[in-house]
């Protein structure tokens, strides 16, 4: 084991400097107004994902504030029922589809995974840009519709027949359904990129058993996205064509089935929860390792737990539907399955505890957020056991107990680690440290505010308050608890404001971070902060699980890649032995135009089925433009293939 001095930047020689200048020339992002639409580098797109997702988080958080105000008093008239239904639906849909998945999966993995596996860009960079624009357009569409009184109002799940043609007049559910299509196409694209990046673009030496846990988590999520999201795309599309084309998928009178929708939706909806918090647990593993100053205890167990969670997550969707009345034997199966998934999660918790208990713990802000995660997320896991038990679930299902449970799981499992990740990777992204004092203040405000807001919801749920009610009657014994919850919101609001102020200030005036302020072990810390447009001056090689901690004194680097084109190294799946080199495509406007055309087709299909038929024509044109081969790269590729075949 060598000390961390290896990562301190070595003096650059003259030839290094020339190499860097040439790389910069080839890799730099196009500038200017039009250049903004051409960018394809993963750090640029990743940052855009982060900012956009955070904007949606803030907007949906503000909606929550208005709802808390409405619920602070019985029979209040701050929001009408029509408005409240739009508010809670848009809050839920935004948090799930426009914040949680894009932030935890897309933003973090697009930015970090290529750095962590030691390559120069994400696989399929143009597809990556395309996925971002689609996500942006989908989110904007939902919110513009919301501001025009066309906000979805049938819940983030939009069950039929309530969202169906007879009970959902107007276009509100249609906008919801197409927002799903937008965001899911974008998530699927990123999932494919991540799988390929991790399997084929790793640094030499990073064999499967040396991949950082964070990257393992994102790969598992990518596979889950590929298998889960088609379920929701299917259900929302069937809903849409039931509404616009007069099909009968969910019409009981014509042999359709209202439960079919729920099965399809929860086939996606339950894995969704794991899609959101597996990146969270992966962040926790990373931060715990760095701040315990030791290798993660039980690496294999944690990785297997992540993979097991990914598999099992597909076997328990029915526990969202216990109240619909399913056969006894199925009930028993899904109870058992839902409880079993506690085992891998428990194994991870034990591994973190051992790592902390046997390490040399340094209490810095990122670790505080992780401690918050332990308190909150494990509580959410415990209340999850209540929901897994069929009889208990029949009492607490669709009450505020469930609202409390999933906020504990999702805010605990995703937002706490996310804010930890923010203070952990902020120096890497901006090159400056986040102010630790302000970070501490926002942590304590958030932790106390969170528990004040959501703990009483357990109690009010057990006292019989159902979810999704726009008001309640006085004398039910719910008023005081609801007022406590609403007060907690104020603390949460303050905390996020302080955090935003901290980010704004530290990005300008924070202390310069240097390339590896936490002397952490993963590869993203081997390059400068912020990373250059080519990520690494020389592509690194890896000698152990924590690449920088385990590096040999004379750890080799990859040489011999062309620095006059965007070339990169491909390696084999299992042992990451180099097996060739390839070339990334150059920046271009085509992904943007393709996203515009796709967006037009999707939005058009809300109003008429012809939207897809006619809308496919411009999409095809844009795609042809996108994939039109350029002479020079094609010739280089041919030359390479000849060289490789020899």
């Amino acid at each position: 084991m060598t000390s961390s001095t290896i990562v301190t930047p070595v003096e650059l020689t003259e030839s290094d400097r020339r190499h860097a200048a040439r790389l910069e020339e080839v890799w730099k992002e196009p500038s200017g107004f039009l250049g903004w639409f051409k960018a394809v580098h993963h750090t640029t797109i990743g940052k855009r994902y982060m900012v956009t997702a955070f904007v949606f988080f803030s907007l949906a958080g503000l909606l929550a504030g208005v709802m808390r105000l409405q619920l602070a008093f019985p029979e209040a008239h701050i929001l009408s029922n029509d408005k409240y239904n739009q508010f809670f639906t848009v809050h839920g849909s935004t948090m799930m589809f426009l914040f949680a998945v894009p932030m935890m999966f897309e933003a973090l993995s697009v930015y970090l995974v290529p750095l962590m596996v030691g390559t120069r860009n994400i696989a399929f960079p143009r597809l990556n840009a395309y996925s971002y624009y689609l996500y942006l357009f989908g989110g904007m569409m939902l919110w513009i519709a919301f501001f025009c009184n066309t906000g979805a109002d049938r819940g983030w799940f939009s069950y039929v027949p309530l969202a169906g043609p007879d009970y959902g007049p107007g276009k509100r559910p249609d906008f919801w359904a197409q927002m799903i299509t937008f965001t899911e196409v974008s998530a699927l694209a990123v999932a494919v990129e991540i799988v390929v990046t991790v399997f084929r673009l790793r640094a030499p030496g990073m064999s499967l058993n040396r991949i950082p846990i964070f990257v393992w988590g994102q790969v598992v999520v990518a596979f889950m996205v590929i298998f889960a999201l088609p379920g929701v795309v299917l259900s929302s599309t069937m809903l849409l064509i039931d509404r616009t084309c007069g099909t009968q998928f969910f019409n009981p009178a014509a042999g359709g089935d209202v439960l079919l929708y729920q099965h399809l939706f929860w086939w996606f909806g339950h894995p969704e929860v794991y899609i959101i918090f597996i990146p969270g647990t992966a962040i926790v593993s990373t931060i715990v390792t760095t701040f315990s100053r030791r290798h993660m205890f039980g690496y294999l167990m944690v990785v297997l737990a992540l993979v097991a969670t990914g598999f099992m997550a597909f076997g328990l969707w029915v526990h969202h539907m216990f109240a619909t009345g399913i056969p006894q034997i199925a009930e028993s199966y899904f109870t058992a399955a839902s409880m079993t998934i506690a085992i891998p999660t428990g194994a991870q918790v034990f591994c973190w505890l051992v790592t902390l208990a046997t390490g040399k713990v340094v209490l810095k802000p990122p670790l505080w957020w992780v401690i918050g995660f332990f308190f909150v997320f494990i509580m959410g896991g415990m209340t999850g056991i209540f929901l897994a038990s069929v009889p208990v679930d029949l009492q607490v299902h669709d009450t505020y107990f469930v609202v409390a449970h999933f906020h504990y799981v999702l805010i605990g499992g995703a937002v706490f680690p996310l804010f930890g990740a923010l203070s952990y990777w902020f120096p890497k992204i901006t090159g400056r440290m986040l102010n630790a004092t302000l970070d501490q203040v926002s942590f304590w405000l958030f932790f106390i505010g969170f528990n004040t807001t959501f703990f009483p919801m357990h109690l009010v749920g057990l006292r019989g308050m159902p979810r999704r009610v726009y008001t309640y009657q006085p004398g039910m014994g719910w008023t005081v608890l609801n007022q406590v919850e609403s007060f907690g919101y104020v603390l949460l609001f303050l905390s996020v404001c302080i955090m935003l102020w901290n980010v704004y200030r530290s990005a300008r005036r924070g202390t310069i971070a240097g390339s590896n302020p936490w002397s952490a072990g993963t590869l993203e810390w081997a390059t400068t902060s912020p990373p250059p447009s080519y990520d690494f001056l020389y592509l690194p090689t890896v000698n152990g699980r924590e690449a920088l901690w385990d590096a040999a004194p004379n750890q080799p680097i990859v040489v011999g890649l062309h620095d006059d084109v965007r070339s990169f190294l491909t390696t084999r799946i299992l042992d990451a032995e180099p097996d060739g080199h390839e070339e990334f495509p150059s920046p271009t406007m085509w992904p943007f135009w393709a996203a515009v055309a796709t967006g037009a087709a999707f939005v058009g299909s809300i109003f008429t089925p012809w939207g897809i038929t006619l809308g496919a024509i411009p999409v095809a044109i844009m795609m042809i433009g996108w994939f039109w081969p350029e002479r020079q790269p094609a010739e280089r590729r041919r030359a390479r293939e000849i060289w490789q075949s020899e």
Binding site: N149, D166, Y167, C245, G246, N251, F607
Partner: protein, 189 residues
């Protein structure tokens, strides 16, 4: 810049349309809540005899309010089942009563004429609903009935029902051109 402006303009127009389409009025106000009444032309009254009241003259504003709101048209569809219009006219195809989804209108296809048909009743079967339905619900029914022959925009007309399928959802039906409205169009210029 010009493009941006044009885009903004068309977008705001679209949004405006969206707002009207989605507007939901739950409490129509006292004027529209009073029951619709006219001298009945049919001795048969829906739900038994009615108490006499002052006849009501519809205003043009009231009309557009209902025909531009998807919620109001949807309510019209619900009332069409609730008040058993469906018993004679079916889901537009007709049976005991005439079909409503074609261009053959015995008593006219203008909203005011349909209103009158509902409230006054018509000989040979159509009962009078005078005094039985609040004003605004009659207009909702009128709007829905007109949507059945494609007279309303597609994005306002309801789509297929949670019933046994008819031929086509209201929003997907071709626009019929009833005789009386064709004459109007010729007279206009």
């Amino acid at each position: 810049m010009r493009y941006g402006l044009a885009l903004l303009l068309s977008a705001s127009l679209l949004l405006n349309a969206g707002c009207k389409r989605e507007h939901r009025v739950f409490d129509p106000g006292a004027a529209q809540a009073s029951v619709a009444y006219a001298a009945p032309l049919n001795p048969v009254h829906a739900g038994g005899p009615s108490a006499p009241a002052a006849p009501y003259i519809p205003s043009a504003r009231a009309l557009s309010q209902y025909e531009q709101s998807a919620y109001a048209v949807g309510e019209g569809k619900r009332l069409y089942m609730a008040f058993n219009c469906v018993g004679c006219h079916q889901h537009g195809g007709g049976g005991i009563g005439p079909a409503l989804m074609d261009a053959q209108w015995i008593y006219g296809s203008h909203p005011e004429q349909i209103y009158a048909s509902i409230v006054e009743g018509r000989p040979n079967g159509m009962p009078s609903f005078a005094g039985k339905i609040p004003e605004y619900q009659v207009w909702e029914l009128v709007a829905y009935v007109r949507s059945m022959s494609g007279q309303l925009p597609e994005d306002i007309a309801p789509s297929r029902s949670d019933e046994m399928p008819v031929v086509k959802a209201e929003q997907a039906r071709p626009k019929e051109h009833p005789q009386d409205q064709q004459k109007d169009r010729k007279a206009q210029p």
